[in-house]
């Protein structure tokens, strides 16, 4: 599996051509309506005083998403902003802070961040959530932040997001541990009849 990254940590990541030039940096990550995958990035210029760019980066133009850079073939890959932004406006504020419910109707928490797979897939593999107390057993902390995998089916409607109930058995406290949990979650799913 490719490296997992939190979408918020992608902000300020440089956009680098295979020719070695940094042409922009990530401003925001844009997801599709079902929060299934990354559709693109809005960009800002590099440096302290540079503001948002008119151009954006659609996902198909990404060569690879890595922990230290978003690689593109050349600067021609950047598109005019409206392509990506239209989706962003529909999406913004929807996933973050959305309520997470299981398909059995239990509230799990609220979304703090979206965990994506790097490389060429751009898939959303899970969420970092502020969990409700009942989810994290033994914890007395008021708010507990955990990673929870997404299921194969994921419904996002209005302000809530529904994940399979058994996904809550695969929560992890940090990103490295989450990598193992995600694989375990998918293996567990292959074994159980739906």
């Amino acid at each position: 599996m490719n490296q997992l990254m939190a979408a918020r940590s992608l902000t300020t990541l440089p956009v680098v051509t295979l020719g070695g030039d940094a042409v922009a940096q990530i401003k925001d990550t844009v997801f599709d309506a079902a929060a299934g995958r990354i559709t693109g990035f809005t960009l800002s210029g590099r440096g302290l005083l540079s503001g948002p760019l008119k151009q954006s980066l659609p996902w198909p133009a990404v060569h690879a998403l890595g922990p230290h850079a978003v690689m593109i073939v050349d600067a021609g890959a950047l598109a005019d902003t409206p392509v990506v932004v239209a989706r962003r406006e529909a999406q913004q504020g929807r996933v973050l802070h959305a309520k997470v419910l299981t398909d059995e109707g239990a509230e799990v928490g609220t979304v703090l961040d979206v965990v994506v797979e790097g490389g060429t897939s751009g898939r959303v593999v899970g969420f970092r959530i502020a969990a409700v107390k009942s989810l994290v057993r033994g914890s007395r902390r008021h708010r507990h932040r955990v990673y929870v995998p997404r299921g194969d089916t994921l419904a996002v409607s209005g302000r809530a997001l529904v994940i399979p109930a058994d996904a809550t058995r695969y929560v992890a406290d940090d990103l490295p541990a989450f990598v193992a949990r995600v694989s375990a979650f998918h293996e567990g799913h292959e074994g159980t009849p739906s």
Partner: protein, 138 residues
């Protein structure tokens, strides 16, 4: 085999008059082709930097660089200083920074890029820009 760090600082002289043009400051590399294309020379007194095409060199020896002609090339590509530059793989991973570059002084062919994590062979080089040296993931 020679290192950029060894070539740097060598006196540059014309072959016919043995006139000293200055010292070798840096080497400009075409990463895709894997060759040194130009050398940059800084004058001893004027401190002005001039550019010579690799083809204008007669020999790059252990103690001096001899050039056939000191005329500047018509077209000078942008120079990106390799030593100290960060290295990224095409998958967006960090591979450290360039410590030195090993090259063949007869042909100008790059052999490897030296990093703290080991050598990166020249055939893995993809591109060289103002931000990074991009290499194929190994």
């Amino acid at each position: 085999m020679m290192l950029f760090s060894q070539a740097r600082g060598l006196p540059v002289l014309t072959l016919t008059e043995a006139e000293e043009l200055g010292v070798l400051r840096s080497l400009t590399v075409d990463a895709t082709a894997g060759v040194v294309t130009h050398v940059r020379v800084r004058g001893r007194h004027s401190r002005k930097e001039s550019v010579l095409a690799w083809g204008a060199l007669h020999a790059l020896g252990p103690d001096a660089v001899l050039v056939r002609s000191a005329t500047a090339p018509a077209e000078v590509p942008p120079h990106h200083e390799l030593p100290g530059l960060r290295i990224l793989t095409e998958t967006g991973d960090w591979l450290g920074t360039v410590q030195d570059v090993a090259f063949e002084p007869d042909t100008g062919r790059i052999e490897a890029v030296v990093t703290a994590q080991g050598d990166v062979p020249a055939d893995r080089l993809l591109g060289l820009g103002d931000y990074a040296l991009v290499v194929r993931a190994g």
